[in-house]
Amino acid sequence: MSGRRSLVATDRAALMLQLVPYLIGKGEVSIAEAADEFDVSPDQMRAMVEKLTVIGLPGDGGYWQMANDLFDIDWDLLDERDIVVITNSVGLERAPKLTAREAAALLAGLQLARAIPGVGDTELFAGLLAKLSRGASSAPAEVIVAPGPVDEVRDAVAAALRQGVAVTFTYKAPDAGPTTRTVDPVKVHIADGQWYLQGWCHLREAMRTFHLDRVSDLQLTDIPITHAGDPAPGWFETADDDVVARIRFPEPVARLLGDYLDRAAVETADGMTTATMRVADEVSLRRLAARRGGEVEVLEPAAARRAAAEWAEAGLAQYR
């Protein structure tokens, strides 16, 4: 979400063109609700609504406009109750077509949504694709999202979410032994092609996130979920990141490290970047070091550096 951004004149014009049909469609709407819909502050929304009342049809033959040539609102309702009602409209009643880019953003999003089991059928998607294309002012750039394969685990999680029951499964985190978990499913996050189940873990008695590729033998139980409404922490957060690590890499490599650096403190000098961050355990960086072979150096802690070298050496030993 873009939040309370600063806008240039063209953006503001675009918002006002959308505001009229929105207000007319609503009939009566509070400043707060409209501000929320348009991602602006209540003050910005009030200013936009007030500005509307100086907009209208051109005056006849160079004369100033008459009152009913302009948009008008119920000023008493606005001043006293923060409610917007358009009382005179001079055009723009129906929403404008989508821009090519708006259509492209929604079309691509639909392709990802389509990968979710049980969300909409083929006909629904086909209908929407056609409507969005027809509703665009010019041909959108084709932005294709190719979803990965969906397996039984994903289908079963979808069923558990629909039925509101807990699931049990074997979970095998990297560099740890397998455990059997019972989890109240709350949300499935799909990011960078990876699926994660977030839910209330009966074993840990806390919200936990599970990478679905590491889940096996998943079964639906008949235990109704009880923790769906619990506040969920940021889904990638784990409570037990207590090792401070430092890695060094050539600056351009940063964008290949993705969300590794999201919570890191980063310093760059002479083209080399040093990142300091918290990780779950000392050995977790060895996989990163091997993946980026020769580009990412583990500086601290010493045990993590040793683990990285040993991990790579153990891999190499298979080829001798």
């Binding site: 004149a9 991602d39 500005k51 100086v54 907009i55 209208g56 404008p96 639909l110 020769g294 080829y319």
Partner: protein
């Protein structure tokens, strides 16, 4: 600002006034009429602004509005279509508005709301929200929101917006492309036709003008700014390009098979399972790009051994050796 300067209307008011005026006319308005009657221009005309400056402002405004998708039509002189002195301008309502016969069902709207939320912080996120607003303004009731899922697409590649714009405008792009193993980037000239996210990486597909054939490039290997040239190409080339690009990537994957031995129960076994086909000894996994697949396999260290092909095995060995050497001695 001096106290006696005329109050200047904000430009967005002028832009919206212009749209209202151009939509209210069937036969179109001449530039003169616009400059002397539409609020925003009128005041400046009246206070003696130069005609030249006002005309330039009008030209800029037209471009801004077209950028927003407002279809401003120019009706020229029948006898001499290039003579724009007597041209009239209008915005045809049917071109501007969402067609009357487009309606969305509550179920469709719920799905669109989910689809519109997939873009994390990016210009695509603003576009998706803006598009949804226009659709919601049609006043359609919405089904219960689809809960339980939070799909996200990340857009970390700085090349994306320029490529998307070039595709929309059917214009040739130039960009520096660094192939793994090459010392320095080479400039590519491309008619870009589609953007494709495949296995969580963005690709641009198009006609490579230097090679004279269709090619697919990884956005993460575009190492400098994408220049949109003035050279345009036939927009009909874009038709079906997304499908062609996708089929191309799938064909590459189908022709690149690796034979791997994995230690059961390990991270490698779990992460590769969804893509694996059982083989007589180990598993077979297909891949699109040997360099990228080698990165993944190297990260598994001793959990996986590449049997074939040799080029993939060599790349994995190369990465592991480099990682060992870099982290070998004390820091």
């Amino acid at each position: 600002m001096p106290a006696n300067a005329p109050a200047k209307n904000p430009p967005e008011e002028r832009l919206v006034n212009l749209v209202v005026a151009l939509m209210a006319t069937d036969q179109g308005l001449t530039k003169d009429t616009i400059l002397t009657s539409v609020a925003g221009y009128r005041e400046q005309s009246a206070s003696g602004a130069s005609k030249d400056a006002l005309e330039k402002m009008f030209e800029r405004d037209k471009e801004s509005l077209r950028g927003l998708g407002v279809p401003i039509e120019t009706i020229g002189d029948w006898a001499d279509p290039d003579d724009l002195r007597e041209a009239r301008y209008r915005v045809p309502t049917t071109e501007y508005e969402l067609p009357e016969d487009i309606e969305f069902t509550p179920a469709e709207l719920a799905l669109l709301n989910l689809a519109g939320g997939v873009w994390s912080e990016s210009s695509m996120s603003d576009d998706a929200r803006s598009g949804l607003r226009k659709i919601r303004a049609l006043g359609i009731p919405v089904d219960e929101p689809i809960i339980g899922y939070s799909p996200r697409i990340s857009l970390r590649d700085p090349a994306f917006p320029a490529l998307q714009q070039a595709i929309e405008q059917s214009r040739v792009v130039k960009f520096p492309y660094l192939k793994p193993g090459e010392e320095s980037p080479r400039t590519r000239r491309l008619q870009p036709l589609a953007l494709v996210e495949y296995e969580a990486r963005w690709h641009v597909y198009g006609f490579d003008l230097d090679v004279g054939a269709d090619r697919t490039f990884l956005l993460m290997r575009i190492v400098g700014p994408v220049a949109i040239t003035r050279e345009s190409f036939d927009a009909s080339l874009r038709e079906g390009a997304g499908d062609r690009a996708l089929r191309g990537l799938e064909a590459v994957a189908a022709s690149n098979w690796s034979l791997l031995e994995v230690n059961p129960g390990t991270e490698a076994a779990l992460r590769l399972a969804r893509r694996a086909v059982p083989a007589e000894q180990g598993i077979k996994v297909s891949y699109v790009d040997a360099h990228i697949f080698a990165e993944e396999l190297a990260s598994y260290g001793p959990e996986v051994r590449v049997v074939e092909p040799p080029e993939l095995r060599d790349r994995v060995i190369g990465r592991l050796a480099a990682a060992r050497d870099l982290n070998g001695a004390e820091a």
